[in-house]
């Protein structure tokens, strides 16, 4: 998709090129082209079952875990096709936060430190400092600083989700993927996570799937509208919501279907 001129100066972080994805013989993503801009928030919207989650999980090769799946086309991370990189390398560079918070059955501290440990960081000082910074960045430090040794499950749902964000942030990902991170949370927890995502703008590239169109408007710079596995339209968020080129997009954002 062509982007308007005002993006000059912002770099393309990832580029999806003529990309399709298959669950067995079911083509769930159909010939998608998409540019993800560096240090911006891009949201993906569309009716249930249109393939948002599927496309998002292609970015960190999550589908590799399950047999019978197949990618076609390219997803360029800077200039390398991440589909031909080692999936572990890809996941080290691209972090993910899931729909339901999934902390590890470990202490709060160890939840964050784990990503560093598997990268071979042994220095205690470095780990402590990174853990604190990640927790601060995820706006949860004040709530947990006195109970870092507690099990992560003892946190509330919203705190657990911010912990998962901190876990992803601790390893300095180039891109952060969010799959409906607030759908299981109450409005207050949702607001704190939205604030957090807005705060991360300019530091990390964010790709977020959401069902909540107000949320997309509030937090994202760019929006992709998907329908039945295809990318219908991709543009600046304000354009998508106020002045979309495609009839379908206009209908969807005005709540006429979906």
């Amino acid at each position: 998709m062509e982007l308007a001129q005002d993006q000059l100066g912002t770099q393309v972080k990832a580029q999806v090129k003529n990309f399709s994805f298959f669950y067995g013989s079911n083509k769930a993503i159909k010939d998608v082209d998409l540019e993800v801009l560096d240090c911006k928030v891009t949201s993906m919207i569309g009716p249930s079952g249109c393939g948002k989650t599927t496309l998002l999980r292609c970015f960190n090769r999550m589908h590799d875990l399950y047999p019978g799946t197949r990618y076609e086309g390219e997803i360029l991370l800077e200039s390398q096709n991440l589909l031909s990189l080692d999936p572990i390398e890809v996941r080290m560079r691209i972090g993910m936060v899931f729909q339901k918070p999934n902390p590890f059955p470990k202490s709060i501290f160890e939840n964050i430190a784990y990503g560093l440990r598997i990268r071979g960081v042994k220095d205690k000082g470095v780990i402590n400092e990174r853990v604190e910074r990640a927790l601060r960045d995820a706006a949860i430090w004040d709530e947990v600083k006195d109970r870092l040794k507690d099990m992560a499950f003892n946190l509330s749902g919203g705190q657990q989700q911010r912990l998962c964000i901190a876990r992803a942030l601790a390893t300095d990902p180039e891109i952060l993927l969010f799959d409906e991170p607030t759908s299981a949370l109450d409005p207050i927890a949702t607001a704190s996570i939205e604030e957090l995502v807005i705060g991360l703008k300019g530091k990390v590239t964010i790709l977020i799937v959401t069902h909540n169109m107000q949320q997309a408007v509030r937090i994202s710079d760019y929006t992709a509208f998907m329908y039945l596995g295809e990318l219908v339209e991709f543009d600046r968020t304000d354009v998508i919501f106020n002045n979309a080129a495609q009839q379908r997009t206009r209908e969807y954002v005005s709540g006429q279907f979906g």
């Binding site: 047999p67 572990i88 080290m92 339901k100 590890f104 059955p105 990503g115 598997i118 390893t171």
Partner: protein, 335 residues
């Protein structure tokens, strides 16, 4: 809505309906009592059995000598020393042999083979899965024959603790594989994905997260199957357990004694190696019991009964350990 429409709320208030509710409640109560009755009957018979054993063997159970004497020709002097020590040694081999193999096989099948990208491997996994489940139900004496053929005849390991332990090992192996797989299956996939998503390898995920999360269930399955193995008799008779053993398997590095034929004095001729106990002859609790029950003299029945109580207690101890471990590990894991 029409007047003829079925009015459910009125029906509930109806007298007839109230009656029908109390009838249904009656059947509810009746059934729960019948079920409880059968439960108590089952437990009662079992308890009675153990109690009977206890009463029969009470004299022996009360004498310390019974636990620390070797079998002897007279029932008076015969004890279970070689039997309980033998059981412990054999079970140790069983555990050391079957846990690493069984758990590793379970991990491979569940975490690697099942999600393999090769269709053939996945087919093979399904095939193996069916067979392992069936193997768990094969009569134990068949495992005895297998042990006889493999360990005793082919590998020439003789009538040894090693042969017995490994024979029981292959007996419990299918159960360990199955319980390991079930335990791994119960770990939510969200947890695995979370770890994979921050760049952990499959093995790191298994080692750091999946195993700690499922170790309680795995150990429980292992202990329960091992406690079943401790009472197995048939396969050990098949591989040639001895019934009359008046020595213990040599402890590692213990002095090796020999008797001077002329003087009858014992003298040390060196030390046992660390693994000599594996090749020693042995007997185990159930075989000792089996032997005593078969003696014509009724005096030995008392010994058999007392040994039975000890065996039940050994099994009970293992099962309590399983329950304890389960509670201990569950307390730390919440999803």
């Amino acid at each position: 809505m029409q007047g003829e429409e079925l009015d459910l709320s009125a029906i509930v208030k109806d007298v007839q309906m109230r009656k029908s509710i109390s009838v249904r409640k009656f059947w509810d109560t009746l059934f729960s009592f019948v079920a409880l009755g059968f439960l108590i009957l089952g437990l009662f018979v079992l308890l009675l059995l153990v109690f009977q054993l206890f009463v029969d063997g009470r004299e022996k159970l009360a004498s310390l000598g019974f636990y620390f004497s070797f079998p002897a020709p007279s029932a008076e002097e015969a004890g279970i020393l070689s039997a309980w020590v033998g059981s412990i040694f054999v079970i140790m081999v069983t555990v050391l042999f079957s846990i690493p193999i069984g758990v590793a096989a379970g991990i491979y099948l569940e975490e690697y083979a099942k999600t393999s990208s090769s269709q053939f491997v996945r087919f093979l996994t399904d095939f193996i899965e069916i067979n392992i489940t069936n193997l768990a139900g094969v009569p134990s004496i068949v495992y005895g024959l297998l042990g006889l053929e493999i360990f005793k005849e082919t590998l020439k390991l003789g009538n040894s603790v090693l042969t017995a332990g490994m024979t029981l090992g292959i007996l419990v192996l299918p159960v360990i594989v199955v319980t390991t797989r079930e335990a791994l299956k119960s770990v939510p996939s969200a947890l695995k994905e979370g770890s994979i998503a921050i760049g952990a390898s499959k093995w790191q995920t298994i080692w750091d997260l999946i195993l700690p999360a499922s170790i309680g269930s795995i150990l429980t399955g292992v202990i329960v199957s091992v406690s079943r193995a401790i009472g197995e008799t048939a396969p050990l008779i098949t591989v040639g357990a001895l019934t009359f053993i008046a020595f213990l398997p040599p402890l590692p590095f213990s002095p090796r004694l020999e008797v001077n034929v002329d003087t009858g004095e014992a003298f040390q001729v060196g030390n046992y190696g660390p693994f000599d106990w594996l090749f020693s002859g042995y007997t185990v609790m159930p075989i000792q019991m089996f032997d005593w029950v078969g003696r014509p003299s009724p005096d030995f029945r008392v010994n058999a009964a007392a040994a039975g109580v000890v065996l039940v207690l050994m099994t009970l101890a293992l099962n309590s350990a399983a329950i304890f471990l389960r509670i201990y590990f569950r307390k730390r894991i919440k999803w």
